[in-house]
């Protein structure tokens, strides 16, 4: 039975919101089949990865802590992706932001006061922005594609991290381990719910998403971002400067990635270590798409991806699933989302098409 696509007159709103759910559903189904095929209990694997973290209240704090950096980075990226600025190097900006914050922490390690943490946050945002400024400069001045430059700089950022951990920033009292000294009380993110891991960054992620939603939908700047991405010539006609938009979206993406970096260093880590980068910057790309580049959708998507992280860990311990399993599920989610995206603009028709019927 032939399948054919028929263009809708207007994109379907319901499909716009339904497809992320469909994509997650298809991922679970396919995942179960794949893991059964390679000799695991496929159903149990899917259950552990997608469901068990949600129904276990003890894991909710972990979910919040994992989701926060993903949401913050993805919200930043969504500005760029909407404006057709493909910053895929958020991981590097996240590392550089964390390093900048760490730099402040190390410089103030004998001091205390409520000003230190905000200063670290500002430094982190500036660090992420500085790392994103290079691709912004190259794109606006020379027309260098930002996809490759942002990614290349991520590899460089990892080496900067290694260099600082192995040399200048190594904890002098740390038995020669390549890591910094522990942050002091004024440098750590406070927890907001006592007796849990939930730090200040978690509610702030929500605040950032709501603020981004306001900017995106209610301000001329957000309108500019949306216009430049969809119709560059119309944006020019409307008086929006393309280069300024590139700069703005890279600065927002870099700044928020850097802020997420500081939150992570001053929160769960409490110091800086070479194992700091775990790919949040890349997963955030999936989060941004799964959330339909909509700040509030990103909050939901961030929680879904956090579930797969937590679930991946439990599946590893309980079922012996390899740790790459979570990554595979994440990639599949993005694949299925992109595949089902077609449903927003096209209707699927089964059966012979009109030409065949007429013949």
């Amino acid at each position: 039975m032939p399948i054919r696509l028929e263009k809708r007159r207007e994109p379907s709103r319901s499909m716009l919101y339904a497809t992320p759910a469909i994509a997650v559903g298809l991922t679970m189904l396919t995942g179960a089949v794949i893991f059964t095929a390679i000799g695991y209990n496929g159903f149990a694997a899917v259950w552990e990865i997608f469901v068990s973290p949600l129904i276990d209240p003890n894991r909710w704090q972990d979910l919040g802590v994992k989701a926060a950096p993903l949401i913050i980075i993805a919200v930043g990226l969504s500005f760029g992706f909407r404006a057709n600025v493909w910053n895929i190097g958020a991981e590097g900006q996240y590392i550089m932001g964390a390093l900048a914050g760490t730099g402040v922490a190390l410089a103030t390690w004998e001091m205390s006061g409520p000003w230190i943490l905000p200063l670290m946050c500002v430094a982190g945002m500036l660090g992420g922005m500085a790392w994103a400024a290079v691709p912004a400069l190259l794109r606006t001045r020379l027309g260098v594609n930002e996809i490759l430059t942002t990614l290349m700089l991520t590899y460089v950022a990892v080496q900067v991290l290694y260099y600082l951990m192995n040399g200048p920033w190594k904890d002098p009292m740390g038995f020669n381990f390549p890591q910094t000294r522990l942050f002091n009380e004024s440098q750590l993110l406070p927890t907001v719910i006592p007796q849990t891991l939930v730090h200040l960054g978690v509610p702030l992620a929500g605040v950032i998403a709501v603020a981004a939603w306001f900017v995106m939908t209610r301000t001329v700047f957000g309108f500019q971002i949306r216009t430049v991405g969809r119709a560059p010539a119309a944006a020019r006609h409307a008086g929006f400067d393309a280069n300024r938009t590139v700069w703005a979206s890279l600065m927002i993406g870099g700044g928020l990635a850097g802020l997420a970096g500081v939150f992570e260093a001053a929160g769960p880590f409490g110091q800086m270590v070479p194992q700091f980068p775990v790919g949040y910057g890349f997963t955030a790309i999936i989060v941004a798409f799964l959330g339909r580049l909509h700040p509030l959708g990103i909050v939901l998507a961030g929680i879904v991806l956090a579930v797969t992280y937590i679930g991946g860990e439990t599946a590893q311990t309980r079922l012996g699933l390899p740790d790459a399993a979570a990554g595979l599920f994440q990639a599949m989610t993005l694949f299925f989302l992109l595949a089902t995206d077609v449903l927003v603009r096209y209707r699927i028709r089964f059966g012979a098409d009109a030409k065949g019927a007429a013949a």
Binding site: P11, R218, T219, A234, K355
Partner: protein
Amino acid sequence: MTMTAPPRIELDGVTKAFPGVLANDRVSFAVKPGEIHALLGENGAGKSTLVKMIYGIMQPDAGAIRWNGAPVTVATPKAARGMGVGMVFQHFSLFEAMTVLENIALGMDENLGRRALEARIRAVMAEYGLTLDPHRVVTTLSVGERQRIEIVRALLLKPKLLVMDEPTSVLTPQEVALLFRTLRQLAAGGCSILYISHKLHEIKELCDHATILRGGRVVGACTPARESSKSMAELMIGGSLKQIAKVEGRTFGAPKFTVQGLSLPKIGDFGTALSGISFSVRQGEILGIAGVAGNGQNELLLALSGEIPTSDPNAVRIGNASLAAVAIGARRRAGLSAVPEERNGHGAVPDFSLTDNAILTARDRMGLATAGILSTGRARDYAAAVIKGFAVKATGPEALAESLSGGNLQKYIMGREIMQTPEVLVVSQPTWGVDAGAAAAIHQALVDLAARGSAIVVISQDLDELLALSDGLAVINQGRLSPVMRVGEVAIDEIGLLMGGVHGDPKATAKLAHDPHIKDVYDTPSIGAAHAH
């Protein structure tokens, strides 16, 4: 049809539907061998869809196509070429970064060697008196030369039927004359020609028979030579033509919009440089700018609207205020609005709602945003007012721009600018691809805006439109603008010659006007270029 001479091609009840539109509804007509047959219809009448089915790009939903009397299914363009159908598209299907030779090779189904192909190209060009350098890259060619590539490509296949889709929309009157000569030569040799156009005088001059389409249906057939232009036009448009209500003997106010020595370097490989453009438009006046496509019209619009900044600070002024150093947003606030030629993606964002498309250009003058925050309610109200004021067929302010027909979107865009009552309005191709009803409404709106005291510049390739609309007329060629002439005092031939690029040199004009061998113009498209340097 007699047994002895079946028609070369016959369409019988051909029907094609797209979601929401019936593009062709039971269309039937036949073209005899050696006949030049016109397919006449307004934009949107379904001509292009029909042609695509004849050439195998699309398949009919119902109906039959017969070739020399035998039913055929034209599955692909290759099959069409195999039958002997040659095609010259309205929008050339050329590959700009490639050479003429490569372009022609792509249109051939047999794989000749490069040398053999070049030899055959030269032979065909000699036969029909065409000239073209096979090794030139397409980007370096004029529009007329580009069309010649398509014609040569079609002729190489020794077609039995040549389909020409709006071939003259980009040619000067002189180039048109030469094209017609080639077509007559072909027809005399037995090749049928299906000539698609909405230009009545051309059809009267060239075609043996005409089939008239309206709204996807055949509404009439005639012998153009025996028919008056008016009667064909009424068949085509479906009702009598609405005249533009224009007050005779109008007087104009003070010069409102002055452009003095506007120059712009060439942008990119496809651009045209503007050089020393000067004109002045008074309050209440409409200035028309004619010209063949690609002679700097787009650049002129962008330079006037402010999308491209110009270096000379005094080149563009409203009243006495200089605007040249000012970007598009500030120009708009100062009262200068512009409507670009391309609706989708330039004048409007296709997947934005009409409300958002109102914000696009009306946010400052209509107060749709304050201190950087959008006033969505006011934007919706303004969009609704435009929809109402310009009778735009849309489901409402939340309808997406892309869901509107071309004519309705153009009405919306024009309305969006006009309802801001700009002191100066610059529009490019205001009725391109728009149905007759919408075109009439747009023309009337422009005239009314002028009557309220705005200065208006209309850039168009449609000479008829400009003659009906404007008070003054200038011609743009190779990025230079002719002096402004008064409409009514200027002869069409003269405008035609200016469009061909011989302005500023009275001797050249006189010579060409009296030269019986207009072929020279066709063979030396560099006249304009030589003049420009």
